[in-house]
């Protein structure tokens, strides 16, 4: 694999500089981060690898990661990306935006390298993660349950209805077609938007807003928007596992139809039109054997469980552990607005 037309090993030698693309590298033991400042005009070759030995995510949403042997190279912050195949090689071309990065990780195992890749992106971009929140469609809204946890995606854009819900303290999210619409609803108090075209200047203009991108790739959406809608149906299980990891970095929302809802629970995705478990799910993902991943989690009712995903056979096995003690919780709000959570034995 070659990155920016150089052999990977060159980046792991003494500090590296290149005048043409203003390059900065940060060394750690197993990783290098190359930061590129865009010069505005040219597209160039970001990386190239051999088709036969290279493994990459098949789907658009996660594809800017390439793995060859024990080396992973992934990138973010480029536009007009094009992946081409020619004479047994795969090429990625693109144009760096204001700050683009190429991350190279050398290590053992695909999943570990992938984890390091996302950790590094997160560390060097310096943004904090947001918990995914459920997205609910207008009609599946339960006032007492969802007020705090969910974003209510309204299907109609009636200003009176929006106003009414906002007054009740409901977090409303709206699909907007263009900036004019965004501006109108921003003025009426909406702070969450789903849009298909995001411009960086929205960040400054609407600093207190939560933006979910309708469609796009994960690597470019990280650090830019607050959430992304992905089509998980076409993912392989390994990609779903990875998406579960990414989800901590960038909340991913999926339409739940046709996907095992329990699996989504475990991975903590937000979902549209369907009630995700609203508590966060603590996942630990371990590679047990080649192709077999084990994920530990806690269900909505605090029952710890594990799921084993066998990627080679596409099989999913569930293990639940029923607690001997089960507590029933009842929450009261006192007159001064304080919450009192009563716990007693019993099934809730």
């Amino acid at each position: 694999m070659r990155v920016l037309k150089k052999e990977i090993s060159e980046f792991f030698q003494a500090p590296f500089a290149d005048d043409t693309i203003s390059l900065r590298n940060i060394h750690s033991k197993n990783a290098v981060i190359l930061k590129l400042k865009g010069n505005g005009e040219q597209r160039f070759e970001i990386l190239r690898c051999e088709r036969v030995s290279c493994w990459s995510f098949a789907q658009r949403a996660l594809r800017h990661i390439f793995i060859e042997g024990n080396t992973l190279a992934g990138f973010t912050g480029f536009e007009e990306i094009q992946i081409e195949e020619e004479a047994g090689h795969v090429y990625a071309f693109g144009k760096p935006l204001y700050e683009a990065s190429v991350v190279i990780v050398r290590g053992s195992g695909r999943l570990n390298s992938l984890k390091s890749f996302y950790e590094l992106l997160w560390n060097c971009c310096g943004f904090s993660t947001k918990m995914p929140r459920s997205l609910l469609m207008g009609d599946s809204f339960n006032e007492t349950l969802d007020r705090r946890d969910a974003l209510l995606v309204l299907s109609s854009k009636s200003e009176a209805k929006v106003k009414d819900l906002l007054e009740k303290g409901v977090r409303v999210a709206l699909h907007v077609e263009n900036e004019r619409e965004l501006d109108i609803f921003y003025r009426s108090g909406v702070r969450s938007f789903i849009l298909s075209d995001f411009k960086n200047e929205y960040r400054e203009r609407y600093a207190d807003c939560f933006f979910i991108l309708q469609e796009g790739d994960v690597a470019s959406a990280i650090g830019k928007v607050d959430g992304l809608i992905v089509d998980i149906k076409e993912f392989s299980l390994e990609e779903i596992v990875l998406a579960g990891l990414v989800n901590r970095l960038l909340p991913l929302y999926v339409s739940a139809e046709g996907v095992d809802s329990k699996l989504l629970d475990v991975l903590g995705f937000g979902a549209i039109g369907w009630r995700r478990c609203t508590n966060p799910v603590f996942t630990r993902i371990e590679q047990k054997r080649y192709g077999i991943y084990e994920i530990s989690y806690v269900s909505e009712t605090n029952v710890p469980g594990r799921v084993r995903i066998d990627v080679s056979k596409d099989s999913v096995e569930w293990f639940f552990e029923q607690s001997e003690i089960s507590l029933k919780k009842q929450t009261l709000e006192r007159e001064d607005g304080r919450y009192f959570h009563f716990y007693r034995e019993g099934v809730s």
Partner: protein
Amino acid sequence: MLELRYNPLTDEWIIVSAETQRRPVQPSQQSCPICVGGVELPEEYDLISFENRFPALKRNPPDVLSESDIFLKKRSFGICEVVVYTSRHDVALPGMPLRQIEKLVEMWVDRTVELFTYDFVEYVFIFENRGKEVGASLSHPHGQIYAFPFLPRRILAKVEGFSKWRDQKGSCPVCDVVAEEVRLKKRIVFETDSFVSLVPFYARFPFEVHVYPKRHVTSLPELTTLERAELAKHLKIITLKYDGLYGQEFPYMMMFFQAPMKRLDAELFHLHIEFNPPKRDKDKIKWMASVETGTWAFINPMVPEQAAEMLRRVEVSEL
């Protein structure tokens, strides 16, 4: 006044909460506010966690304006809860039935999960101050939970410690310590299949005890049913041994260190519980004084191996 103020000298946020000045001091038992019928809890209950009447952090804190680029302020987002372990006024962790402590562990699990769902919460800290020596203002058995909007300095130090160890050795320091202590046995106070309680090699307080799960788990919710029950047992045994040490109620600070779940490197963190008792002898207190407060350097007047031996020898009645 309720706000966060930034200290650039130490890169940390300070919680200014003038309201805490109005906290009650040592009320008599007749007026216990958290007994059934008390001012906070008029109704019957078994266990309860409720938002503090005088919180340092709030779900809906007042707005603040930074005075300048030099004096930075933030709103005091967060949640402070009082966790009442039982409706019985006259027991404490060591005297509570094991079943009640198991329920308490389940409640802590649920509080951890729920508090982390708030967008503004970055860290959930469960703790108990027992005894007037460490500032407990109520004798009814209870602890507290602070859900912080930032990662407190010492938690960050731990996160960095875990990360440094991983970089250098490729493993988890707690996993490594547990394996070594179990082999050596000399600092262990109590051990079961999945937990070990010990006076750590690096103890800062004379009778400091740490409770470590043997398995690498990052937080309470990850513990299995069996592990949760074993944890309850350790908490009871350790506090029983403390009380038996000098035949008196032994004051302590009990603190739960869980992973900052919203960070990607959360998985490096290994759940652990620290007991920091201030007593150095039957009637001597080791205070947090200039050296400890000012530099975070500790001078431990007790050899940890000897403290472990003393605690091991305290007989506790069968559970």
